[in-house]
Symmetry: D3
Subunit: 140 residues, 6 copies
């Protein structure tokens, strides 16, 4: 059994493809996460980009706004993923979901995952929206 | 403390509003669940319709296809919700998500909730798609 | 599909009923949560009160102390719900559960949800009990 | 490091104490589980009885009906614990919770853990209640 | 954004590397899962092999028996992953974990994830062990 | 029903056995947790030691490094157990798992529980490794 060398030309090509996708959607939200992995688990950072973005996120069957709705649903119901939810609230804004749509995904989640998970997700969104001067959110 | 009488005119009006939403989106997938609650928890059936559909699902900030994407993400990552996932795969088809989009939501979930949750959700979709003669799913 | 106007007389009546229940049980623990939702998801705050307290909590089949035991069990095992657990430790005290009963619910949870979830819940209780000068808890 | 011999007099005494508690509350619901562990993990069966019932359940700070409410909350929100939930619906009836109280615990859980978990728990209760001719459940 | 063509030479090479790892450890337990994905999500099957086994499982920092211990811990505590747990009990036997070690991982999990998750995992192991005539398991 | 007196000679003997195991593996990481329980749930602290370490951890079927791999898998996938994960990263180092093995358990978890859980676990490890001057971790 041998694992791929993440510095090989083939893996670097995979990384670049993933990196292009990531840059197209996240508007600079993710680099902090990636940098924090550099001295402890660089291979995980590589695979998040190469597999998560290059292989999965790049697939055309769902467009980025749709993927973000799925992601917001997942991260809300998993619980304990506030750091990732913060990244994905930023990404959601960046790909064009409105603040009202993001909040609505969390309100919707209340019915399926309960009020506590919904409240925790909205707390994360509130922090991001406050930084970007997006409060108050106008309900439709 | 008194709870509302679910047979009062006000609650029946709320129920009808929710029922209209439910009928508009689920294409007949939910009645079995509601009927099964009738002799044990009719108030829960009432609230699923009046609150879940009348109060939450009816909100215009997300359209039904978007809500279904959030729902598929939630139910996949919660785990152990195969019966609800089956209902929502049917509802997703009914509101216009394609089989490829539904499957893609589950593939996307693999990165955030792991392969086992994704595989379990796809098993549910496969059962529904087989009944409706929607296999094989053409990947985009 | 139209969602109810949360400012309509009917919804305001539902809200008042829920608010009466909430005030009767929480002893002032919840307003902070509700206020924090005001500029981002006022409809969620409305539904937590109108549905969560007005429709569910108000039901007479369980009295408040019994509901709090169920709630403590749920929040402990969900994990990642420390903010909600803090509110509900306060509510539990307010409706008459003793510190020893609250702690016992968490010790009991160790067998069903494992030691880590139990320890996390007890950490939350400890914070609340310390503020109220309820430590040490006398074991029965 | 040496583990205790579960057949030692000390451990057998612990087991008997737990077994007395178990027999007092479960009305014969648990032996099937214990028997199924005999040829694969007898130590786990021992510890469930000696620790779970002898050490935890026996504690006087909560009475059995209260413990069952906590347990129903935990098992509902964990998800995927239908076999254990079935045992504990039986135990709950045996210690004196009414069918309406058991159902109410699950309806209450809808607000904190979402409708799917509540529906799954009620499905388990329905099976047990049907076997005992306890349907329909009269709502209070 | 373009996703990789899973039939390209580069991806087929990645697939073969993963497939070699999978064949080396699973002893034929996984093909059923892979085949079931062929007409609905072939890309997911590709990525489970290419990424899950080729990129992750192949890494030398843990040997297969160690990876299986981590995997058994994860699947037990996630809950609702009985089909995957069955595959991984077989894989665990195949890479050299003894029945007693596998059972011990589940008993150990009782302390961290609670008795219900441990019991459910042991039920899966019992089914596999029965098929392979490995019962009773001799406790060490 | 009577619970055991945790100060009885029998229980103190059980506690000492567990304490010996705990001291042998944790290298001083756990006392803080135990001390924090002293004024609120001393019985839980007793049972964590007497049952968790004396009855479970002491069993010879898995050696400490193996148990830690199972534990790291469990705590990663449960989510929201960062305090316990921190204790167990320290314990893992203490029983002889290398930093690279600990990190690898978390990278491995990405495939089964998703990237967010893996990243959260690695963040905890990074904090512990930084304190012990173990960064950067050399990947094998």
């Amino acid at each position: 059994m041998t694992a791929p060398d993440i510095n090989s030309p083939e893996e670097q090509a995979r990384y670049r493809r993933g990196s292009d996708v990531l840059n197209a959607v996240d508007g600079g939200a993710a680099p902090g996460v990636m940098a924090s992995l550099a001295d402890i688990a660089p291979a995980l950072a590589h695979h998040i980009v190469a597999f998560g973005f290059g292989d999965l996120y790049s697939r055309p069957a769902l467009e980025p706004r749709q993927r973000q709705l799925v992601t917001l649903g997942i991260l809300t119901s998993l619980g304990g993923c506030e750091p990732q939810l913060e990244v994905h609230v930023r990404t959601s804004l960046n790909v064009g979901l409105t603040p009202a749509e993001i909040v609505e995904a969390f309100i919707h989640a209340a019915g399926y995952a309960g009020f506590p998970r919904a409240i925790n997700a909205i707390s994360v969104a509130k922090k991001v929206f406050a930084e970007r001067d997006l409060l108050p959110v106008e309900e439709t």
